[in-house]
Symmetry: none
Subunit: 219 residues, 2 copies
């Protein structure tokens, strides 16, 4: 799950980033509003968290442009303002949700989960492939009803595969879900995790297509 976090305050930005990372999001932190649109164009983000109080380009501007371009990216807006008027204005601009500082970090998490659920095809709380089930919200995984405990990265790979059940997911795509850009990794980490997942779920669970990617079967 990739998030673009746009926040100019250094302190807040870094701490939000690490909090989100520990919730298992892949986070890119951007401080300069002017870079946001190019980043979005390139980035394949699932969500954006946008501070409205930016220098250079205002958050409002960014939002307007995104929506003008018909980009359906879910956006959660952060702001210091807190009057009802401001809030309504923000939502009218195309924000999907709104949070006023100071806020509770867990509330942010909850809202992000909800946003994501809403955007990624509504009522599908549980991912299923064969006898393996994954509940994204609680990150609980079961095989044939039995609980399986996975580590964060194992989950990240599994989730990427299962949300794309039936389709091949490339190695680099899987890496994207695990890492923030610039974490340059020159290794076979993905392969290792694929190997681990097969140990948990059986060797037939994940199919390999050489030099294309991996997939799990649908349903």
């Amino acid at each position: 799950m990739r998030i673009l976090l746009v926040e100019d305050d250094y302190q807040l930005g870094e701490s939000l980033k690490s909090a989100l990372s520990s919730e298992n999001y892949a986070v890119d932190l951007e401080r300069d509003g002017a870079n946001v649109l190019p980043l979005l164009r390139a980035g394949d983000y699932d969500l954006m968290v946008l501070d409205l109080g930016l220098p250079n380009v205002s958050g409002d501007e960014i939002l307007k442009k995104i929506r003008a371009a018909d980009d359906p990216l879910p956006v959660l807006v952060l702001t210091a303002r807190n009057t009802t008027e401001d809030m309504i204005e923000g939502l009218d601009l195309g924000a999907d949700d709104y949070l006023t500082k100071p806020f509770d970090i867990d509330e942010l998490f909850a809202r992000l989960r909800s946003l994501h659920r809403r955007s990624s095809g509504r009522a599908r709380p549980v991912l299923i492939s064969g006898d393996v089930e994954l509940e994204p919200k609680t990150q609980v995984v079961t095989k044939a009803g039995e609980n399986v405990t996975l580590t964060a990265k194992e989950l990240s790979v599994l989730e990427a595969l299962m949300t794309n059940a039936g389709r091949f997911v490339s190695k680099s795509r899987l890496e994207e879900g695990m890492y923030t850009w610039g974490d340059e990794i020159e290794s076979n980490t993905v392969e290792v995790y694929i190997s681990r997942l097969r140990k948990y779920f059986g060797s037939g669970f994940i199919e390999t297509l050489r030099s294309v990617g991996y997939r799990v079967k649908k349903g």
Copy 2:
């Protein structure tokens, strides 16, 4: 997937080329800006990566001309400049994306994927020929509803045929989709893959026209 890589720096050019090749792109590397337009005219490229700091003809010029000619080719610009102004100027000239040196190779990959998805996502839902369907984005192929798993090169040939359904596609055209120019291979590889595809989809699926090429029927 064919990419035209325009980069005058020898070192960088070569290493980018090999990196892109290993990501399964067919890459042509051009060092001289003056050759770019003729190449584009001939080349059938899906993407272009353009360094702005070229000798002879400047990258800006090239971009301008391409857009003036209404060529919708997705272009990613590379440059050493990195001020916001330059970036915006680049985008205004018609670049679809922008990356400043030094950059992370994985970021480049991500951006290219995204570029391609955007440009091809526009008008290429599913390719259909008879009871065979191919979803280019996900690389999923079905015959009469049944899933068929193809290898990377098999897919490459099939995709080329199906995007040109109803028309004959020459052998060398099919090779282009699989290889980088200069790899000029004197062999019957294409024939081998045609043979394989017929095994999967029936001998009537692909029609041969001697010394012209192959085609699948439209719709």
